[in-house]
Symmetry: D2
Subunit: 349 residues, 4 copies
């Protein structure tokens, strides 16, 4: 390829923005042309993320000062709520740009559900209609043709990859799904909060947002699509003293099937997928196996309670759960090989 | 009191043994007379646990060399399987000794269940019949009169305190209980295992013993007692990158009750208990709140799925989950105030 | 004793304040009468520190609203700079109160040095003259008679206990002392800072305040007292991914002495001290040995470079490094046994 | 390039072996042909390192069963002591193979020093004479022509890159160098040891091997080469509760120079180096900046003691400190671009 695709990363001072930089900086066909972080405009990336000392990156600027005309794609790692306005502005300035949105702004298709969970009306309902849900393995064809990709949340990615194929195949009861989710602390972002201080989050474990986490409606939406109806799920997240990684333990009621049937159905569904691996019987997924990588590992186990099974799925919340999946989708929308720049093996130990 | 009770701690080179030493050494009415650790016999405790440098403790000896005649109580922190033989020998030498067993050897009342889960016939069935299950809050009167107290496992303590009152009251369905359990790494003991190395267990999270953990039959036994029947539960433990602490998230199906009803039933059940605290509505238990202490914290939350609720319970696996509860029981069997030597507040941060 | 001493703890929403509460709440002769935290006034302690759920504590109030008349002692865990004014006001309201100041405000005896390091003139120079430096083992007699005790910083406590006896005895060169210091993250306090987020401080290690840390002049002041002159030391702190604990590795140039001589001099100096233990030859101090306790462990080792030695000292920065030492001093000023309420053994593992 | 170089990795069940696999598996011009681990022969790599689930790797075999004939290079990640014999056997079987040794066996040029520190005579003194010390930045030309490269220890790499240029230039006194070194727990390897259990090493900090660490003579050897004489240094390592990463704080006595002079000398020495970055004045190196990467970051700071300075250097002990530097050297001996397969950016957070 003669020229590189030009990209901008908005919200580059946050963790998902930074991981997009980490991956894009080594992507052979990408050139990072602009980095924005409105509260840090004027600084170098190494000022806000010193581990980028070895890279020659553009300075941080405000998003308003970016020239969108020559850009091929934009990663949005902005806080929820602000993305709608900015995306609209970007696409108005250059309607050909591909948007890889890592925020939650375009994930919920139903306006009322969005308003209920986010506390305000959606600000860009037309764009919401256009947006494609960016769970690559489920919506690959649509994503390839999309202009605006709403990359899923980290928990929905882990949960839906584990549940959609078996729900769709009718192997489980969609009205009795319990998802006990565990996440590393980066999932809470780089904002300053007392409960994510090292001294508070370290050496301890806390459930949070019980019954109220905004990833629940996203999971329900897609399980609903899979089974053709409205579903309500239990989704209970826990904050774990590790930086990266996420593991969802899903407790499901079987519809006559066995744990082996579920494992087989998942293995069939993902047999050609480069990033989703179904573990052989008896192999237990763990976050260590995917840390820093774009891979997902899924395992299925029988429950002691007859007629139930346990599905365990794990990923790195900043990679397949955010920036990695966004880059995977960028590869699709820009016509690059899907795995390009994403084949890093987990960093273990 | 004129004289102090004389105690021995068997298995003092393990974590539960060490925590028994930590607590007993500061108990005002106790004198540690013997410490055993057969593979370390001849060493000082500070050789195997340097944080005891400030204590004047007896040297480690083999259990065979202990003079049982003058002892009032014995803590057993021995590996599963060896305790049956040793307990029998101790009680033969001095039938008046009180045994606080922290191993699993006398927890399962049913011989067949024991054989199924531990792979061999019970070696002391008569003592098994005599043993009292040492969950203080449930069996206080029996413990007070007991000679052999089978202190519960850490997970059963956390789970049963959360579930027994509501199961007994018929507020939940006993055949649909899912316990997603999370434990710090000390739960795996001090034995050398690859998966508990810092480099392996740190910064990561793994489920383990899925459907096969030996605490499951113990929980089932006591839920069964509560509801008067045989029950099968889901119990799925996860290894968390922290040293101490345990949190069980129990997903229950309601029998017409609400989450508020469950919370009230638990608050009523524990209103006079010194170590079990039911959190007010909305307050989320976390392991940080109980680290290093003998306290248990329990919270109840509604589930998004109608007719279900979530009960969260947390404790320190080495204290209320082991050595602390053993000392609490020792206070009962020796006639000391139940809370004596056990009122340490959680070490946070 | 008929009545308990009444104390107030100012700055109870910070880590040192909280550790003072943890210790004082279990002190047999103390009653916590007032707790202040101006930004949290009106809340309960369990709102800001949920691990106090089991205690019946007074509500948080502003310091201005405290009635000082009936108080015996006040712990100040306030930010540097504010303490001077507040202490003056407290002592004006009740000149008989004993002040245990855990801030840095009264540690430096020289006004010019204070102004140089803290950027402003001292606001209570008369009180500064009255204040006694609260390193218990060095100034016990003065502390016993003091009204205002300026408890030392955590690093100075660890460093001075290791160095003062050997410097005073002329065993080392006071002009060639290099202190490589390592601290857990609680040392940075509970304020929200990016570098103390779990995701930033975890799994990594950073030097900080190189050549500029405010504990340097405090160490220099007291080494200067020991040798009778002005000294300049190297003090280089590092942030370590643990919550509690501090370890100082001091590299010293010997004045004809050997490492064994240093160890003996320290052992002699501390032979009757309840909280300072000099490790036998070959035993290496580690923070794990003192976590959550008021103990200090010191070890001495020969250097490969002839004529040099290494002194290693460790303590818990929130206990002997702050609230524990303050309580130890409170015991002195109120006439209680010095070790009362402070004999907790390290929480290990 | 038409064909890929064929490599074997010996000791693939250890951490340095695994990191060599992680890097080599994604190197565009390398094919992993054999993996050995004698105690795990017959297993797949995913059995011993489950994070390799996505790779198609050869099964583990014993080193004796490898066919050396078609191999281009061999990485040795074997325990110290065994490498001498195995290397001799490999080179006898195929004298054209390039050996990248990650053990300590060929690092010390002086037989007597080797015998003193390792407790036995060197078993392959002829190969020792042939071996080139594999600190790439110091011995690039020799390495390029070498058959047997003795890759340095992790600590020597960090320390020597910081000190050799300034020692060589006479800017510091070589007889007064104090290196306070801090390492993550992977530095202790995957062998089962009590002090590297999560429950023991976590949340705590311990110095170790004080004055006795085997990396000391290696550092002394190379500083000696730089200054043309025999030197003795202080080298004091500390175990830090993190998996990866190493930071050395070197305290040096200046020879008339300033800290700025040292920084400039280092910047000049490394201005064309791809992996060694000298931080600008005021920027503090931290392990987080290099985690999982082959980069080294060095910073220089003035000391409060006149005439002294502080040099801080950091790297990932398993990458630039071991497998990464070995791969960098492999690129040299096989004629690939030096940075190929090694440009991963640090994984932060």
């Amino acid at each position: 390829m003669a020229t590189k695709a030009k990209i901008a990363i908005l919200g580059a001072s946050g963790y998902t923005g930074a991981d997009a930089v980490r991956l894009a900086a080594r992507h052979p066909h990408v050139e990072i042309t602009a980095l924005t972080a409105n509260t840090h405009a004027g600084k170098s990336m190494a000022d806000v993320f010193p581990h980028f000392f070895m890279l020659d990156l553009p300075k941080l600027v405000t998003w308003e000062s970016v020239d969108w005309s020559g850009l091929d794609a934009v990663f949005c790692g902005l806080p929820h709520g602000t993305t709608q306005e900015i995306t609209a502005a970007v696409l108005k300035a250059n309607p050909k740009i591909k948007i890889l949105d890592m925020s939650a702004d375009f994930r919920l298709r139903d306006g009322a559900t969005y308003a209920e969970w986010y506390g305000h009306e959606h600000q860009a309902p037309e764009l919401q209609k256009e947006a494609v849900y960016g769970l690559t393995e489920l919506y690959r064809d649509d994503i390839t043709k999309a202009r605006l990709v709403a990359c899923p949340g980290c928990y929905p990615t882990a949960t839906l990859l584990a549940l959609v194929p078996v729900a769709k195949a009718g192997l489980i009861h969609a009205d009795d799904i319990i998802v006990d989710a565990k996440s590393g602390v980066t999932g809470a972002g780089r904002g300053l909060k007392q409960n994510t201080l090292f001294s508070e989050a370290g050496e301890g474990l806390s459930p949070y947002s019980i019954g109220k986490h905004r990833h629940a409606p996203e999971i329900e939406q897609e399980i609903g699509v899979a089974v053709g109806g409205k579903v309500t799920i239990n989704f209970t997240p826990h904050l774990i003293p590790m930086a990266r990684g996420e593991l969802c333990t899903s407790y499901v009621k079987l519809n006559g099937a066995t744990a082996d049937d579920l494992r087989q159905a998942l293995a069939d569904a993902y047999k050609d997928e480069p990033f989703v691996h179904v573990a052989p019987k008896g192999v237990v997924p763990q976050t260590q196996n995917v840390r820093g990588s774009n891979y997902v590992q899924i395992g299925v186990f029988p429950d002691r309670i007859p007629g139930r099974a346990i599905i365990i799925s794990t990923l790195d919340n900043l990679v397949k759960g955010s920036a990695g999946q966004a880059l995977q989708n960028m590869n699709l929308v820009l016509g690059f090989p899907e795995t390009m720049g994403l084949e890093q093996i987990a960093l273990f130990p």
